[in-house]
């Protein structure tokens, strides 16, 4: 890899941090706006559900998102503030369907310390001012003028240093804030202040409430006519207004989110840390509050935000599980829950750990993530594949073939679906109610298996059975003509198009027929050297009804041959090599290039470029798609032709930039497929699999497919062991039933195919599992799981005791073969030269695996290295070790074999708080740090002085805006040896917000080219809210802010493809490169993920 890196998002953030409801896109339209950390999504509420309108990236991490309506406006404006102190006000432009910026600015200050409890941004209900709490001790006010424009901002001193929440009160003549804060003695109080805009200062507010509950950390302002505020604690809820005080005790819970149900504020939904949804009712007589009532509604994902939409529909945004659309029912269901989950929106966040595996050994990585937290913990299998959206399915066993037929030649839709079985043929058709029902075509022979069917010219249909070829009128459905196989021979394989039929009978005969109006004419006949295994005459020339060429696959000599039609002369013969016969051949054309595809019985696919005039086959390539015989069929989706390869690993073959690409389909095993474009199910496919027939539409090509495996507990680490075909995960179960929250830690072993739990190992009380590794040791053929743990005792600040456990998987059991006590928690484990390298608190420790006299094995400490604050993340390569420290950036260590010692070679002297490290190549290492940045450092082994050699030079810096938990080498896409991008090394990362990203190391020439493109794109693509891309990507932490270097933002670069032509031309002119060339180079990059 190199120092020139390209960072791109493969899976966008899905952690919903904020949401709000209002009339944003039109006065009458109700919108749900959700923020997913660095993106906002605008949806429209329709009777059919939520309909997406817009999903845009924001150049910043969204800290606050609020809708408000200035005086005299008929629809809402959106206020967004980012964590790096930028804000903007957005308005919807209905004509262009895009966001326009009403106002924007910077609210950073040189003074003040950023708040610990998160930034607060609130808008006065009467739209007099926007209030921001960004720094301890300061309250920033952005006033509105009479026309709803923003005026100059100013700061007001807020003496309360530890502010937990600030809200505006409703119904006050002057804008009034209510502040929940904690004093120096850790007691919490609530206080109100009036904001005096004239004096730019606070005035003591109408009331204050000292000594509120210690768990209180949320305020809910109550709108008129009731007014006042709700103070939500862990054990109490208090309603407070100038002259009323009402409280009710609640069951202990930490309220994470609330949603207002009624406009008058008498009912609220509260979501707590355990995912329970409560309804809080303020009972009142006219405008006088008489009391509070709370009722449990049911369970949802753990909410980070709740938005009440309309008519009992509620959106639950979650950071720890899938976000949901729920309906609140009037009556409880059998389990006593009023909550009905209507829809789930996948959320991968937080990705705490993941591994890249290639379970099918296809060269395509799958990512298995530890996602979610608490009860919503799950494993997610993410792979780059194409999804089939099932529309209908019928149970049908033993399907041997399927074809779709039209009722007349001009009909745009398919009517019949011919399904062939071993001893019969059934015909399904769409009836008036759009249901699939069995019908009959009188002219067809339905008592035998059908070998092939096709629409023919002149409103005819062709059916080939083992004994005859039948030509049937599609209007009268009567037999018009029949061609019988010669006596003593039966038809083995057959194929046809609109005007031609080619079939092979026993005795190595190849027969060619042509279809006329009501006639079948045998035009030619040939005897070949061997039996025929497969045939194809798919027309790829100019005439869509007639093929000049026929492809024939042969038994015995394992070859594929091209014959000319109609004279049946052999043009080409290509030996396939090996012993596996071709099972399916297909002539097809993608993007103007003709190919011959030939699928073998063992799941391999050969492809050749076919010269249609000479019949010459060139550019032979072989790929593995599965392990079972493949059947190839063409289909079209979005007016492009693709090929479906049905097998145990169904694959779609398509072409992009004149290259063949292969993408998995998210189905287990497909025996047959045919396109079925019926009026009721347009653009659909009929798929025969495992005893059922499914009709479904196909997704866009190249999309990540995600499979969820809910665990009900929080998985922290994952590791795959190829030899035992298992995953081991370290998970935590939270027991919240008892008064004391307790945790139990497990090592769980899962099957790598079914993800079924095989066995588990429970750790001691207070023992936390910290790290896991699958490795083998020198002089030992076995493969082990090593687990590092820590004893986290309540009285200790830092663990002083831990264990390394070594397990072997035997007969589906985890056998503990060795354990070693350590003097601290084992943050990381790595296999290192046939030994085990552990990071234990401040120390790096190397253990060797030794044989004791009694034949058992043990870990024996060999050497170590001190000098870290906490060695959290360790990676190794050869004899080199890189350590990501808690707060001291990256250091490079080396193991010296002769001395048996580990020595520090170099370090980065910046004070970066690390969150993940990875080795890109021998000299370049990448790190992710606490403030959402990425950086690369390079070893300087040619340095002239010790000082230079001892310093890791920072070569790249970039603000990712995401908290990276893990880097892993690997790729999400199939690495085909025939593609250029296949040579680019990539690293995958996973983040707290559920982002899966790819970092690709580019050659310098390509980097320079794309960098130029990026700087041009910056000029053309304006950030939402006028936010600057350059500022957003600048490396920024507590200490410094510097421009990004040696990193490119792939998301920006790839958005080039979405630009309209005029903007593309503009960039093309600037770059002096043709648009086609630019598209090609950018598309190449999109194939990395």
């Amino acid at each position: 890899m190199s120092i020139w890196n390209y960072v791109v998002t493969a899976h966008k953030p899905t952690n919903v941090t904020h949401s709000c409801v209002g009339n944003f896109t039109a006065p009458q339209e109700l919108n749900l706006i959700t923020a997913k950390c660095t993106r906002i999504e605008i949806q429209l509420l329709t009777p059919l559900g939520l309909q997406p309108i817009l999903d845009v990236p924001i150049y910043g991490r969204i800290a606050t998102l609020e809708l408000f309506r200035p005086h005299g406006e008929t629809q809402d404006f959106l206020f967004i503030a980012t964590e790096r102190y930028k804000f903007c006000v957005l308005q919807w432009d209905a004509e262009a369907s895009e966001l326009i910026t009403r106002a924007m600015g910077d609210v950073s200050d040189r003074i003040g310390r950023p708040t610990d409890n998160g930034q607060i941004g609130i808008i006065d209900p009467d739209c007099r001012l926007i209030g921001l709490h960004l720094y301890d001790g300061l309250f920033k006010v952005i006033p509105f003028d009479n026309k709803g424009q923003l005026k100059e901002a100013f700061n007001i001193r807020l003496e309360e240093l530890q502010v937990l929440d600030i809200k505006f009160l409703y119904g006050c003549s002057k804008p009034t804030i209510v502040v929940l804060y904690q004093d120096n003695k850790d007691v919490r109080h609530v206080k109100t202040y009036e904001v005096s805009l004239k004096d730019k200062d606070f005035v003591e507010g109408p009331w204050a409430q000292n000594n509120v509950e210690n768990g209180a950390d949320l305020l809910i302002p109550v709108p008129p006519p009731l007014c006042g505020v709700l103070i939500i604690g862990e054990d109490n809820i208090v309603y407070r207004s100038p002259n009323t005080f009402k409280a009710i005790p609640i069951r202990h819970s930490i309220t994470k989110a609330y949603g207002k149900v009624d406009a008058d504020g008498s009912r609220y939904l509260l979501g707590d840390h355990a995912g329970l949804l409560h309804l809080l009712v303020i009972t009142h007589e006219k405008e006088k509050v008489t009391g509070l009532k709370i009722e449990l509604l049911g369970e949802t994902s753990i909410a980070s935000t709740i938005s009440y939409l309309d008519n009992a529909f509620v959106y639950i945004g979650s950071s720890y599980g899938d976000s949901q659309l729920v309906k609140l029912n009037l009556h409880p269901d059998a389990k006593g829950s009023y909550v009905e989950v209507l829809e789930r929106y996948v959320n991968l966040g937080p990705i705490v750990d993941f591994c890249v595996v290639d379970l099918e050994r296809q060269g395509q990585g799958q990512v298995v993530t530890c996602s979610g937290a608490f009860k919503d913990g799950s494993l997610r299998v993410v792979r780059n594949g194409i999804g089939i959206n099932e529309q209908a399915s019928v149970e049908l066993q033993g399907i041997k073939g399927m074809w779709s037929l039209r009722s007349s030649t001009d009909d745009p839709y398919d009517t019949f679906l011919v399904v062939s079985f071993i001893s019969e043929t059934r015909i399904l058709a769409m009836n008036i109610e759009d249901e699939l029902e069995e019908t009959e075509i009188e002219g067809f022979c339905s008592q035998v298996q059908t070998l092939f069917c096709h629409d023919a010219v002149c409103n005819q249909l062709v059916q080939v059975t083992s004994s005859s070829v039948r030509l049937v009128s599609s209007t009268t459905r009567e037999l018009k003509h029949e061609w019988n196989a010669p006596a003593g021979y039966s038809i083995n394989v057959a194929t046809a198009n609109a005007t031609q039929v080619l079939l092979a009978t026993g005795g190595k005969h190849l027969v060619y027929l042509e279809i006329g109006d009501g006639t079948l004419t045998e035009k030619n006949h040939a005897q070949l050297d061997f039996e025929i295994s497969c045939l194809d005459i798919n027309p790829i020339g100019d005439n869509p009804n007639y093929s000049q060429l026929a492809a024939v696959g042969m038994w015995t000599d394992i070859s594929v041959q091209i014959y000319s039609l109609p004279d049946l002369n052999r043009i080409t013969k290509e030996h396939l090599g090996g012993e596996i016969i071709p099972r399916s051949v297909l002539l097809c054309a993608f993007e103007g290039i003709s190919y011959l595809l030939c699928a073998l019985g063992d799941g391999h696919l050969l492809n050749f470029i076919l010269n249609t005039s000479t019949g010459e086959l060139t550019d032979r390539k072989k790929v593995s798609l599965g392990t079972q015989p493949i059947t190839l069929r063409t289909f079209s989706s979005k007016s492009t032709t693709h090929v479906f390869a049905a097998s145990d690993r169904p694959t779609v073959i398509y072409s992009s930039n004149k290259k063949l690409l292969y993408s998995n389909v998210n189905l287990k095993e497909v025996s047959h497929m045919c396109p079925f474009n019926s009026a009721a199910f347009p653009d659909s496919l009929a798929i025969a699999k495992e005893g059922e027939l499914t009709i479904g539409t196909i997704d866009d090509i190249q999309k990540l497919h995600i499979r969820s495996i809910p665990l009900g507990e929080h998985a922290r680490r994952i590791c795959h062991q190829e030899q035992s075909r298992t995953f081991a995960i370290l998970s935590v179960k939270y027991n919240q039933s008892s008064a004391e929250d307790s945790e139990t830690h497990f090592i769980r072993l899962l099957d790598d195919q079914s993800f079924d739990l095989i066995t588990y190992y429970q750790l001691d009380a207070f023992e936390y599992a910290c790290s896991i590794l699958s490795c083998s040791f020198s002089d030992d053929i076995n493969v082990y799981y090593c687990v590092g743990t820590a004893y986290v005792l309540p009285e200790e600040n830092e663990p002083t005791k831990g264990r390394i456990l070594v397990f072997i998987v035997e007969d589906g059991k985890l056998q503990l073969v060795a354990e070693k006590e350590t003097k601290g928690s084992v943050y990381s484990l790595n296999a290192f030269n046939g030994k085990l390298l552990a990071a234990i608190n401040q120390k790096i420790q190397l253990y060797k695996w030794t044989l004791r006299d009694d034949g058992t094995r043990e870990l024996q400490s060999e050497c170590g290295h001190h000098g870290h604050i906490l060695a959290l993340y360790v990676q190794t390569r050869g004899d080199f070790i890189i350590v990501g420290d808690l707060m001291k950036s990256i250091s490079l260590l080396m193991y010296k074999h002769e001395e048996g010692a580990i020595e520090e070679r170099a370090r980065d002297y910046n004070a970066n708080w690390m969150s993940a490290v990875e080795i890109l190549d021998d000299d370049v290492y990448i790190g992710a740090e606490n403030f959402f940045n990425l950086f690369t450092v390079r070893k300087n082994s040619e340095g002239a002085t010790d000082e230079e050699r001892g310093r890791l030079e920072v070569v790249g810096e970039y603000h990712l805006g995401e908290f990276v938990n893990r880097f892993r080498h690997g790729s999400l896409v199939m690495r085909l040896p025939d593609s250029d991008v296949g040579q680019i090394p990539t690293v995958i990362f996973g983040t707290v917000n559920g982002v899966i990203g790819v970092i690709a190391s580019l050659p310098q020439e390509q980097y320079a080219f794309l960098e130029k493109l990026q700087s041009n794109l910056r000029r053309v693509i304006k950030g939402v809210g006028g936010l600057s891309h350059e500022q957003w990507r600048s490396f920024s932490n507590e200490k410094k802010t510097v421009d990004a270097k040696n990193f490119l933002d792939g998301d920006l670069i790839e958005s080039f493809l979405d630009l309209n032509r005029s903007k593309m031309d503009e960039i093309s002119k600037q770059m002096r490169v043709s648009v086609e060339e630019l598209c090609k180079r950018v598309e190449e990059m999109t194939r990395l993920h």
Binding site: S108, I111, V203, S915
Partner: protein
Amino acid sequence: MWRQIGDREAGKLRPNSFSNRIKSTRIQTLQLSNHKDFISPHRGSVNTLQLDLTEGRYLLSGASDASAAVFDVQRGTDYGGGGAITRHKCLFAVDKQHEHGHKYAVSSAVWYPVDTGLFVTGSYDHHINVWDTNTTQVVMDFKMPGKVYRTAMSPLATSHMLIAAGTEDVQVRLCDIASGAFAHTLSGHRDGVMTVEWSTSSEWVLLTGGCDGAIRFWDIRRAGCFRVLDQSQSQLGRRPPILERSATIKGSTVKPSSSSQSTSAKARAPQRKLSNGSGAKHSPIGKSPAKGSMKQRLHPGMLSSQDRATAHYGAVTGLKVTEDGMYLLSAGSDSRLRLWDVESGCNTLVNFETVRMQTSRPIQLATSQNSELVFVPCMTAVKAFDMWSGKTSLKFRGHYEHVNCCWFSSQDQRNCTLVAMIDKF
């Protein structure tokens, strides 16, 4: 720790809260390091210490024997005690023998804030020398009217390269490295100036503490000082009713800056670019709103009664602005430590439990990064006080004589090293 790391991983703990929490727990466990040994080349008391501001790696010290030295605090020169102790010899030292060395005690040594290529020393021999670190040669020197007590460079400055110098003289001088000449003199103190400190929020604001007990705030772009701290003024914390308040001092920072600047391609939605905060460059902190409260009218020629206000009885011996720029700590020869609110200039009346402090010479204070603790040399010990309660939270003993100076570095070592040097009389 493991739990916090786990919470950060799962997004339950915000990364900046994580680092703040770890920092404060680490400070609580701060103690004298047994693993580091600085081999001092100085044969007199160490008067000043500073770690470079870029990497926090090189320690600069100045001592009474007219020498200054640089140490690498991260990488030891050799190891002792079986590898457990790292010894740090100085990388180089300049003393009287050096052709341009100081003749008398070095009272102040500071790094050039941008990189470690330059450092500045001030001495009792009335000279300020600017040194090139790589060649250890003096590249510039300034002759001062008296003994130099303290020099300072602004860590924020992007548009000037000024060394502020407090000397025996009543005037504070600004030495410009760019031109090699005095840029300004700031007059106002009635006695020598023991301590100077640049603001951490504005590159134009300088704070000085004099032997006359006054702490003055200067905006170097204007004549005269704009604030004198008064120990008896302690209004903060009360919000008087609106009418009375117009006469009191307020500390809001209103930034006049560009407005109504349309950047959007869509002209029909008028846009306004509000540039706040960053505007702090244009106006000093504490500058009162333009509405013309009394403060504004006073500037620059202040009311004589206020001009004579004192912050300490006796001399002000040390000043330190917290990193967030909101508070100022001052130490005086009255053995008091005071915490001031910078914006309003109010004495917060936090009662620090200082018992005795050195009175005769300038001392160097340090604060922890999150402004929780203040480290103060108290005779032979360094005490750490809680900033808000004034209670002693930590006490470091290890020196045999009076401590003159201390410096806090958060990124260093297992226990954040607090470097405190011995007075070797």
